[in-house]
């Protein structure tokens, strides 16, 4: 990594470096994130606020900088979440697809190795994720889902903090160029 830590915006896409992961990492990490989301809160209720699948999708998207790969990964993870939830198939899928696409798009322009950027992106995409989910549920299913702004902001902050730590751990799984 030869670019400066003080720069946030990249001058061109070539300036950013594409991270590579092994295939099993891309397969196993999202799976573990989903398992964590459905299993751990059984024992630790307070951890139910964590949206690890979202953070994982976002991480791979911003790090790999591949829009198609990111949206497909988001779609798969989202559909897996849908299949484990009461929602009809497609709600989480659409949201995570959009998150993956936009995160990959943003990752091309930003220096996503900086902690602050990761924190801000995690915070923002968590909000985006919740807002899109609320819109889709209301628009497609006609359900009156409440959107608590204050609570959502706090959870977004918590997820962003956890996301920064998680991203730091996932950085260890990158292939060395």
């Amino acid at each position: 990594m030869s670019y400066s830590n003080s720069r946030i915006l990249l001058s061109s896409q070539r300036e950013g470096q594409v991270s590579r992961f092994r295939a099993w990492v891309i397969a196993v990490v999202p799976l573990l994130a989903i398992l964590f989301q459905v299993y751990v809160p059984l024992f630790f209720q307070f951890l139910s606020f964590l949206e690890l699948p979202l953070l994982v999708v976002m991480y791979f998207a911003i790090m790999r900088r591949n829009q198609i790969g990111a949206l497909l990964l988001g779609a798969v993870v989202g559909l897996a979440q849908d299949s484990l939830s009461k929602n009809p198939l497609g709600i989480f899928g659409i949201v995570n697809t959009l998150v993956g696409y936009f995160a990959a798009s943003v990752g091309m322009r930003l220096d996503v190795d900086q902690g602050v950027i990761r924190l801000l992106l995690s915070f923002f995409f968590y909000l985006f994720h919740q807002l899109m989910k609320w819109v889709l549920v209301r628009a497609l299913l006609g359900e009156q889902l409440a959107f608590e702004v204050q609570k959502t902001l706090i959870l977004a902050l918590l997820n962003a903090v956890v996301g920064v730590s998680l991203f730091h751990f996932l950085d260890k799984l990158r292939e060395r160029s």
């Binding site: 198609i68 198939l89 497609g90 899928g93 659409i94 959009l98 889709l136």
Partner: protein, 409 residues
């Protein structure tokens, strides 16, 4: 195309994936009415297109039919005109049938209410000649019709049977110059002879100048002619002119007012009273009385119902019953003491405006039975009309007072 897809590959894939997942949501989700979203979306998406296509198709075909393909219009117009004419004829026929049914009903009602026996007949043809005042009816001697019988309708007299044949009869109408009938004024009882003039108006002869007859007076048959029983409406006085020694009076006959189709031929004439109230052309409908059971507040005492004669009859009946007297029993037996009449608070006999004189001593206070006439034709029979007031009023309106009229003179 390939360059376009390469350039926008990622956004295309995004849209495809989003669309695919939308389909998934639509297939999996249901609305509150338990209908899958995919069905709702499909119908919502397709129906406007279908409506537009149908509108365009209908508009196009309608335009073609209305403005381009007009070759059938003339034939269709002719066919519709013919059909319209046929429907008009049908309408006239049905109206005539309805009118005939109404007349038949009125005739039947009149026949049941009048005391005279009558045979209903239908006009089948007119007498020959343009000014003919004769008609032929479909009843003849086989139906009991005889020469000289009176022909009437519920509105009034129509004519007289001039000749009776086995299957038909010739009727001389009231407007024929050869027709004559005895009439009497309702108001002043002035008597005269009605004669036809060959027009729609008749004249009345032999009314002395000193007898008072006014325009608008009703004339009834007097029974003097021995053809028409008394009490049948004849007509309304249209003009009166003083002359010597008799007045010149013209009358508009009422029997022919509504045209002639069905008539009654009186086979057994019974004289009737001349009605004292103005005669209407239409019978008046009077609703049946309300049920008395369970409604004591609305119960009307029997003595206060009906005419004065009815009230007197009920009083005499109650006096006789209170003294254990049986009406219609031994004529030479005991008579009730009518001096013990029930007296009201104002000193009058209860139920009557005037105290009625008791019958002559020794005479049986016969109350009369329906259809019973006086044995002596020279003596006016006691009015023993058994019909309720509503029936009598209806008969009067139809020109048929109840039975028990003045004697044949």
């Amino acid at each position: 195309m390939e360059g376009f897809l390469n350039r926008y590959r990622s956004i295309t894939v995004l849209l495809l994936v989003i669309f695919a997942q939308l389909i998934l949501v639509a297939v999996g989700a249901k609305t509150k009415q338990d209908v899958r979203l995919i069905r709702v979306w499909s119908i919502t998406a397709v129906s406007p297109v279908a409506r537009f296509l149908e509108g365009a198709r209908g508009g196009g075909i309608g335009f073609l039919r209305r403005y381009v393909m007009l070759h059938d219009a003339e034939n269709e117009n002719r066919r519709l005109r013919d059909e319209n004419g046929k429907l008009k004829l049908d309408n006239i026929f049905l109206k005539n049938e309805l009118s005939r049914a109404d007349r038949a009903k009125a005739l039947e009602l009149f026949q049941t209410k009048t005391a005279s026996k009558a045979v209903a007949a239908t006009i089948i043809m007119m007498g020959a000649g343009s000014n003919s005042k004769e008609v032929f009816v479909d009843r003849g001697t086989t139906a009991g019709i005889m020469r000289g019988m009176a022909v009437v309708t519920p509105d009034g007299i129509v004519g007289i049977v001039r000749a009776a044949y086995p299957t038909a009869s010739e009727v001389l109408l009231i407007t024929d110059p050869d027709f004559a009938a005895g009439v009497i004024s309702q108001k002043t009882q002035a008597r005269g002879t009605l004669k036809g003039e060959g027009t729609t108006i008749c004249r009345v002869d032999y009314v002395p100048t000193e007898d008072k007859v006014e325009v608008g007076d009703w004339l009834f048959t007097s029974g003097d002619d021995r053809v028409f029983p008394s009490g049948f409406p004849v007509g309304i006085v249209k003009s009166v002119r003083a002359s010597q020694p008799f007045q010149e009076i013209t009358v508009e006959p009422v029997g022919l007012k509504r045209g002639l189709e069905d008539v009654l031929i009186l086979t057994e004439a019974v004289h009737q009273d001349i009605p004292t109230t103005p005669t209407g052309n239409q019978p008046i409908y009077i609703a049946p009385p309300p049920p008395l059971s369970g409604a004591p507040l609305t119960e009307v005492p029997s003595g206060s119902a009906g005419t004065e004669a009815d009230k007197l009859r009920s009083i005499y009946k109650s006096v006789g019953e209170s003294q254990s007297f049986t009406y219609g029993g031994d004529p030479g037996g005991r008579t009730p003491d009518f001096t013990k009449m029930p007296v009201g608070t104002n000193g009058q006999v209860t139920g009557a405006t005037k105290p009625a004189p008791p019958p002559a001593p020794g005479a049986s206070p016969t109350l009369g039975t329906p259809g019973q006439a006086s044995p002596n034709p020279a003596t006016p029979p006691v009015s023993t009309n058994p019909q309720p007031p509503t029936v009598r009023r209806s008969n009067q309106s139809a020109g048929a007072p109840g039975p028990g009229g003045p004697p044949h003179q």
